[in-house]
Structures are given as C-alpha cells and as structure tokens.
Point group: C2
Chain length 189, copies 2
C-alpha cells in the first residue's frame, strides 16, 4: 500500500535523505551537479521549481525507467532571495538580515519519469519567524555549525532551533522537502 519502487533522489542533501527515510521510502541518490548560481527575473516560487525541474531532468535522462525526485529550497526575506552563503561574512549578513523577522522558505519539488511520461512539479511555502539574534549568537552558530550548505545560512534541525520563535506551515518544507504535499503527490502516481 505505501511502497514505491525505484526512486532516485536527485540531491546530495543529507536532510532530504533523512526525510525520505523517515517516511519509509526506498531510494538511491544521484547528484545532478547543476549550476545553482544562475539568476533569473522570475518569482521565487518559479525559481525554486525551475531548479527542482532541472535537477530531476538531468538525472531522469540517465535513468529513464526510474521515478526521479528533484527539489530546491530557497529563502526569501524583504523580497531578496537568499541562497547558500559563500563564507563567514555572507553567513553573518544573512542571519543579521533574518534576525527578529518573518521570512519565507519555498521548496520546489519535481517528480519525473521519462518512460512513464510523469512530469509533476509543485511547491510549498512556510513562514518562519526568528527571535532577535545577538551578534554573539550569530558568531557562535557560524563558528560551530558552518552553515554554508544551507539556504539562508541556518538549519532548523540543529542548535539553531533555539532561535526559531515560530513557523506557520509545513516544518519539513523548511528542512528541504514538504512531506505532506510530497506524499499526496506521489500517492497519485
């Protein structure tokens, strides 16, 4: 009843792997290696979906029989898109910008299987509110956790949890995969 075969996760994110395991999905992973630095004049939702589609497509071409899952998570604050920080300074600037405010986390997800003509893409948005972060909190976090592989420069599943006042929406979307919506879509296939 709740079993899906031959799923490939087109992502190297340890969080996404952990989430698929949590809901009992058997899968393998392949890293797409697409260029995520391209900038577009599109809405954040369309950008997240664009990268999710590109990641899934790149792997789907190599494995046309399998169901490939691509996903991309972005953080939006004051209409500015925050990707992964390149260094300590970018990380500090991002967390300073997010301090005491509510921002949006958008994950785009694409499900593709060439042989079965499956091509579904959707997104989920969650609002996240931080406490006011002191400089010492921000420095402690960057030095200890090196959040350079995370959009917005934080991981809601590590120590940074103590800085998250509230969320409004799907928690797992903030970790990188909106589990409720993902399950609903995959169950339709």
């Amino acid at each position: 009843m709740f079993h899906f075969n031959n799923i490939i996760l087109a992502s190297g994110s340890p969080r996404r792997k952990q989430l698929l395991k949590q809901i009992g999905i058997d899968f393998t992973t392949e890293i797409s290696g697409i260029d995520e630095s391209i900038e577009f004049d599109l809405s954040p939702e369309r950008i997240a979906k664009y990268f999710a589609i590109e990641k899934a497509r790149k792997i789907s071409i190599k494995f046309p029989k399998e169901l490939v899952v691509g996903a991309d998570t972005i953080v939006v604050c004051n209409k500015k898109i925050l990707g992964k920080p390149k260094n300590d300074k970018e990380s500090f600037d991002m967390l300073s910008m997010l301090s005491g405010k509510t921002h949006k986390v958008i994950t785009g997800v694409s499900l593709q299987c060439l042989d079965k003509s499956i091509n579904r893409t959707f997104h989920e948005t969650t609002k996240v509110t931080f406490i006011t972060l002191s400089n010492s909190y921000i420095s402690y976090y960057i030095n200890t956790y090196k959040p350079f592989d995370k959009a917005g420069s934080y991981g809601i599943q590590d120590w940074f949890a103590v800085c998250v006042k509230k969320i409004d929406g799907c928690f797992y979307n903030v970790m990188g995969l909106p589990l409720a919506k993902f399950w609903k879509e995959i169950s339709k296939l």
Copy 2:
C-alpha cells in the same frame, strides 16, 4: 557561553532526550514515575504545568544540587484533553477525532533546583492541522508505529509527518519540548 552543568531531565521520553542533545545540553535522566492518570478541573495549560512541576519536584528532592527539567505534553481537540492511548481502539478514536481538524499541543516545562531556590514554570502552545485521514491511513499508522506512548496518539517526527498539513507555532513543542522558549528561560538562570 552556552554551557549548563548538572542538568537532570525528569523524563524517559526519547524525543525529549533527542531534543536536549540537538541543542548541545549535557544531561542525565531520571524517571519520576508520577501518576499521570489524575483528572483535574483545570485549564489544559495549568494541567500541563502541574504535571511538569510534579515530575521536576519528585526528582529535585532526591538531587537538590542539580537543575531538574520536568515537562508534560498534552493534546487538546474540541475542548477535550487527549492523553496517551491505552490500546488500538483508543488510538483509532483519537486519530479519527483529530482528522481534518486543527488541534492544540501544549507543553508545560518546569525548571527546579532546591539548593539555588530556582523554580520557574512556563508553557508553550502550538496549533497543528491534520489532513483528512482515511481509515486505512489510521490503521496503517497504528499497526506499524504503535503510538501508545504519545499524547494524541501520533509522532510528528515519524511517518505521521505526511499527515500534518501545517503547524502554527513552535515545532519542537509538538515533539515534547519548546526549544526556543526553553533556551530563553534557561539562559536567564
């Protein structure tokens, strides 16, 4: 800077242990074994705090030098308090009641140290909205996960995540300990 010594968690909950570890707290655990079946004519918030206080107090008397953390989580739907289900039928009834609705999860937390006259108690409330649960989803979940040690009969951190449409508030409060508020309170000591 972010270090607390000699903390005792007055709880056997594996979720609470995991959460304290997540935020880097060193602790040991002692199980209070208090009777949680007592019923009161009090508000849900006061009941959660009452049990948190009782758990912490029972351990604090034995270890008067240490800081003891007691916590109690309850689920409230349609003004009815849902504790831990005793069997399959109670579990089925609880999940059927929660299906498609928004309910409240309240965790009371008590911090106590006899020798230092520390006695702080607070609570946090999170709203949780479920998708509409089919009977087959409910049966699958009960049979596979046996959620009998969980208030409201579900664990937001296991497969059941796919049934949680959204939350409004602190996610970790639903798991059993409101990390942001807990950190804020413990930092004041």
